[in-house]
Symmetry: C2
Subunit: 585 residues, 2 copies
C-alpha cells in the first residue's frame, strides 16, 4: 500500500504520528520560506507543509517544482495547524513532510478540478477522467452506488431474486428502434440489444421465480432528446400472483425505504390519482405536487359572454399564481409572449389580477364583470394578491400548454424545492394511444399490458377509451417508474396483437415463445421498472441525469472521450458478412 | 394478492386456519373417493386434499379434471395430515380445499418438472421457462443471487464503489473478437460491446475513484468451446495506490467472506505459488490442490540406463496414484490407451506398482532395477500400494499430458470433493506468450499489465522470460479470477504496445485516450476480475456454468427459446447503411 491513511481521515488524535499519504496536488501556496500543498484523494484533502526551518532543503527544493494534479506519496509527521481551517474535516492538522515521491507528474489539466469548474461540457466529456476528480461528479457516482445498494438490500430482504437476463436477444420492430448486433457464427443474422428485459422477466414468472428484480442496462437507438442516453439503467421488477395494489404497495415500500435510508425522509402513504384526474388537475400524467396551482376549468363560468376566444374553446382552464397580482404589466406580457413561443404553442394567455383590496384587473375586463372574475378566482382557489392565468382552446393542447406554464412558473418562483419529495401514483392509464403518423393505435405502455378485464369488449367499439392496469410512479414531476399488470392468457395476448396491427404470423414470429409459454401454466403477474438514472438524479436534487452517469454519451450518441462509435476494419466487416451501403457512398 | 401464504411455510401452528394458496399442480393422486394434489411454488410444496366426505361434490368433480402444471388458487382449511411426510417441511399438514380457481390451465409439459427430468438439453433450453420450475435450476439461480449479494455487501463495506461503465464502446482488434453494433446516428460507424471494462476501470482510477467494482456483463464473439458463453458476467474490480500484495489480501478477504457466508467454511490464508512452481508441481497454472499426486521429475534418476524413450526426453515426470498398485493389468492398459488418445496426446505411459510387500512391478523392468524404482517411488512420495505413472517427452507437452491424467484420475477416484474448497493464488505469470499462428508475442493477460519493474530491460533480449505483476485466483482447479498491477506510465505503455506489434499510429488510434489520461496524473493501480458464472458454479459444487445462467445460449451462440439471432428487416438494414454480403449469397 502506498499510504497508511487517506487524505480525509486525519484529526487531532493523530498528531505526532508518522503518516504516509498518497493523492493528487490540488492546490499549492508558495510563500518562499514556506510551501503548502493541498493533497486530495477520494476521501478528502489534507494540507502538506514544507518550510525552511523543519523540511530538509532538498525536499523543499523538490516541492517547489510540483504542479497541479501531480500524484504524490508523502511521508511525515502530523502536526497541529496554526490557523485552523473550519471548511474541511482535516482542518485541525497538517502533514509536515519529511520526504515525498512523485508517483506521476501531470500536464496542466485543461480545466480546473474545482466544484465550479471553468470547463465547458464538451471538454469535460472529453476528459471525463479528470471531471470525475471533481467533487460534484464524484459525489454523484458515490451517491448512485448508495442508492443501488439500498434498492438491492430492500428488494432482496423482501424475497426478490436478482436474475440476469440476456443482452443478446432478438429484434422486434415494435416501439423504439433496437440496436442490432451481427452474429459471426450465424451469418446474415443479428441479435438485438434489449430495450428492456420485459419478455424475459415475464418468462421468469412463468418459470415460478415469483419475485424478480434486476438492475440492468437497456438500449434504445432513438434520436436523442436532451438528457436521454442510448444506454440507460433500469431497476426492473416483476411479481407473480399479484394484483395492481400489491405492486403499488411493494414499490411504494421500496421508494419509502430509499427516501428514508438516503435522506432520512419519512413520507406517508403515497397519494394515488387516475390518469384522467391527473390530466384534469395538472394537465400532465406526471404532475409535480410539491406545490399548488392546480387547474380549474372555467367553461361554465366563462362561456356566457361575448368573448369568442373562450366561447369557441373546447376548454377554458386556468391556475392561480401565488403573489402574482403584484407583477408589472411588462412581467405579465413576458409570460404571454413565453406561452406563445412555438415550443409552448398557446394562442394567448388571459390574466386576472386578484388585488389585495378585493378588486380585479384583467385582460378581459371588456367582456367580464367583477362577479365573473370573482367566481373564476374562487374556482381556481385564488387568494388576494394572486394572479389568474387562463388558457383556452383544444382540450389536450390547452392542458399541455398550461402544464408547461405551471412548471416554468414553479421553477421561477422557487416552488420546486430539491430537498422536498412528493411521490404520487398515477393509475388507470389508457391502454392504447392514437399515433397520428401511422394512423393506428399503439400500446401506450407495451403490448403485454393487461386491459381492465371488464373493458375488453370496448376494444372493438372504442379502443381509445379502454383503460389498462397500468401505473406510473411520479416523483417531483418526473416519471421515475412505470409498470402494469400483464396479460397472462394466450387468447387475450393474441387479441392485443391483433388490435396493434400484428398479423398472426408476425405475432408468432416475434413473440411465439411468449405465447407458447402462456400455454404451460402462466401465473397472473405484473411489475414495474424504474429509470435508475433519473431516480438517482431526482433523489440527488437534480433533474439532469448526465452527471450521475460515469461515462455518458453526447446528443449524437457519441462517447467523445474514447471517440466511439468508429469505423471498423474491412476484415471485421467481411467476417460478419456485411458491407457498408450508404446512400452517399 | 392471490394467496395468504406460500406453499413452503405452513406448519402445525396453522392447523384450523383458513388459508389461500396459489401455485402449480405438481402431482395428482386420484384414489376415487379422495384426491391429493401437490401444489408447488418457488417456496415449496403443500398437499391439497379433496375427498367425498368433506369436499363439495362440484369442487371434487372439478379437481378430477386438473392436469400437471395447471395454475391454481385454492382456499380451504389447514388440517393435520394423517400420514406425515418427512421429506418436505410442510409434511405435517395439508389443505382441505373448499373451493379453487384455475388461474390458467396447462398443456402437458414436454418434460417432467422433477429434479431428475426426462428432458434432454435442447428441449430444456427451448422451454427454459419450464426448466426453471425445476428445483435444481431454480435453486442455482437463487444461489447465484445470494452470492452476488454477499459480494456486493463485502466490497461496499470495504469502501468499493460500484460504477456502471458503458456497453457501447469502441472496437479494438487486440485479443478475442468483439461483437460490434452499427450506429444509425453515425452512419458507417460501429460501437463494440466490451470484452471487459478494462480501460474504463483504469480511467476511474485516473479519476480518483480509488476503489471500484462492478458486476457486469462482458461479450466475446469467440467460437464457443463447451461451457463458454458469448455473454458472461464478471466481478470487475480495481484499486489505486496498491501493490500486488494489497490486491491479493483484499480479494482473498472477499473470497473468504463468500465461502463463510455461503457455506460456513473458514479457510486459512490462501497458499501462493508462482506460475513456474505451479507448472512444475502440477503441470497447470490452475492446479487443483484438494488432493495430492504432485509431480516429481525423474530425469536424474531415469536417464542413466538403456531406456531410450526416457534418455531422449526433455522431461521424465510422474505421479503416485494412491492405491493404484492393486489395479489389474487391464485397468492400467486402459489408462495407457486413454493418454494416447489425440485429446491427450501422450506417446505412452510407464507404470510402476509399489506393492504392499515392498516389491515393485513395472512396465520397464527390463531397463531398471528395484533400487531405481524405489528411488522413483521416494521422489514421487509414493506409499506402499500406490501406482507410479510416468510420462516423458517435450517438457511443456509432458506436463500438460500428466496434468490431464492427474485430473481425470482424481475425478474417477472421487478426490475432487465438491464440498471442499481449496483456493490458491498463482503469481508471477509470464508477461508475454508466443503465438505460433502469428509468430509473434501476445500479452498473456492483457496489454495493460505491468512487467516486473526490474525486468523491463529483458523485453528486448528475452521477451518470453519477462514476468508480470499478474496473478490468478484458483479454486478447486478452476481459474475463478485473474488480474494484474497495471502500467500507469505513458512511456512504459508505449513500450508494451511496441513489443506487441502496434505501430505508434495504431496505439494512438485505439488507446490514445488511455495514454492521454496517463499524462494527467495516473496513480499506481491494479485490479482483478472474477468470472462470476464459474465462481458461482464452483461454489455450488458444480463445474458447468450453464445451469447457473437463467437463459444461456447453446454452442452455436443461439438462444433456442427465443430463436435468436435472426434475420432482420430490409428497412432496418437500410437505416443502418448496411448490406448483407455473404460469400454464398
Amino acid at each position: 500500500m502506498y499510504r497508511t491513511h487517506t487524505c480525509g481521515e486525519l484529526r487531532q488524535a493523530q498528531i505526532g504520528q508518522e503518516i504516509t499519504l498518497a493523492g493528487w496536488v490540488h492546490k499549492i501556496r508558495d510563500k518562499g520560506f514556506v510551501l503548502w500543498v493541498d493533497l486530495r484523494d477520494r476521501y478528502g484533502i489534507t494540507q502538506l507543509v514544507f518550510d525552511e526551518e523543519r523540511t530538509p532543503a532538498d525536499v523543499l527544493e523538490k516541492a517547489k517544482k510540483l504542479g497541479r494534479e501531480f500524484v504524490l506519496q508523502a511521508k511525515g509527521t502530523i502536526i497541529q495547524r496554526t490557523s485552523r481551517n473550519d471548511q474541511i474535516p482535516t482542518g485541525d492538522i497538517e502533514l509536515l513532510v519529511s520526504e515525498f515521491t512523485i508517483l506521476n507528474p501531470s500536464l496542466l489539466p485543461p480545466f480546473t478540478i474545482e466544484d465550479e469548474t471553468d470547463g465547458g461540457d464538451e471538454l469535460r466529456m472529453k476528459y471525463r477522467y479528470l471531471d470525475i476528480r471533481r467533487d460534484p461528479v464524484k459525489d454523484n457516482l458515490i451517491f448512485r452506488h448508495k442508492v443501488t445498494m439500498e434498492v438491492r438490500k430492500y428488494l432482496s430482504d423482501q424475497g426478490f431474486i436478482e436474475v440476469e437476463t440476456p443482452y443478446l436477444i432478438k429484434s422486434t420492430p415494435e416501439g423504439a428502434r433496437d440496436f442490432v448486433v451481427p452474429s459471426r457464427m450465424n451469418e446474415g443474422q443479428f441479435y438485438a440489444l434489449p430495450q428492456s428485459p420485459q419478455t424475459f422477466k415475464q418468462l421468469l414468472m412463468v418459470g415460478g421465480m415469483d419475485k424478480y428484480f434486476q438492475i440492468v442496462k437497456c438500449f434504445r437507438d432513438e434520436d436523442l432528446r436532451a438528457d436521454r442516453q442510448p444506454e440507460f439503467t433500469q431497476i426492473d421488477c416483476e411479481m407473480a400472483f399479484v394484483e395492481q395494489d400489491d405492486i403499488l404497495e411493494t414499490f411504494e415500500g421500496l421508494t419509502r425505504h430509499v427516501l428514508h435510508a438516503i435522506h432520512g425522509v419519512d413520507t406517508g402513504a403515497f397519494p394515488r390519482m387516475t390518469y384522467d384526474e391527473a390530466m384534469q388537475r395538472y394537465g400532465s400524467d406526471k404532475p409535480d405536487i410539491r406545490f399548488g396551482m392546480e387547474f380549474g376549468e372555467l367553461n361554465a363560468l366563462a362561456q356566457h359572454g361575448d368573448f369568442n376566444v373562450f366561447n369557441q374553446a373546447e376548454l377554458v382552464v386556468g391556475i392561480a399564481v401565488p403573489g402574482g397580482a403584484s407583477w408589472s404589466r411588462k412581467e405579465i406580457d413576458a409570460w404571454v409572449d413565453w406561452v406563445k413561443r412555438p415550443q409552448v404553442g398557446a394562442k394567448g394567455l388571459v390574466y386576472v389580477k386578484c388585488n389585495e383590496d378585493g378588486t380585479y384587473k384583467s385582460s378581459v375586463d371588456k367582456f367580464y364583470d367583477t362577479e365573473d372574475l370573482a367566481k373564476w378566482a374562487k374556482t381556481l382557489g385564488a387568494q388576494k394578491g394572486d394572479l389568474l392565468l387562463i388558457i383556452s382552446g383544444d382540450k389536450a393542447a390547452s392542458r399541455n400548454q398550461l402544464n408547461v406554464l405551471r412548471m416554468e412558473l414553479a421553477n421561477q418562483l422557487g416552488l420546486r424545492k430539491t430537498d422536498e419529495f412528493a411521490p404520487l401514483w398515477v393509475t388507470d392509464f389508457p391502454l392504447l394511444e392514437w399515433d397520428e403518423d401511422s394512423e393506428s393505435y399503439h400500446a401506450m405502455h407495451h403490448p403485454f399490458t393487461s386491459p381492465k378485464p371488464d373493458q375488453l369488449s370496448l376494444l372493438d367499439s372504442d379502443p381509445g377509451a379502454v383503460r389498462a392496469n397500468a401505473y406510473d410512479l411520479v416523483l417531483n414531476g418526473n416519471e421515475i417508474g412505470g409498470g402494469s399488470i400483464r396479460i397472462h392468457d394466450k387468447e387475450v395476448q393474441q387479441l392485443m396483437f391483433k388490435h396493434l396491427g400484428f398479423t398472426e404470423e408476425e405475432a408468432k414470429a416475434q413473440f411465439g415463445f411468449l405465447m407458447d409459454a402462456f400455454q404451460y401454466g402462466a401465473p397472473p403477474h405484473g411489475g414495474i421498472a424504474f429509470g435508475l438514472d433519473r431516480f438517482v438524479a431526482i433523489l440527488g436534487g437534480q433533474e439532469t441525469i448526465r452527471d450521475f452517469i460515469a461515462f455518458p454519451k453526447n446528443n449524437s450518441g457519441r462517447d467523445v472521450m474514447i471517440d466511439a462509435p468508429a469505423h471498423i476494419d474491412k476484415d471485421q466487416l467481411k467476417e460478419l458478412g456485411l458491407k457498408i451501403d450508404l446512400p452517399s457512398s
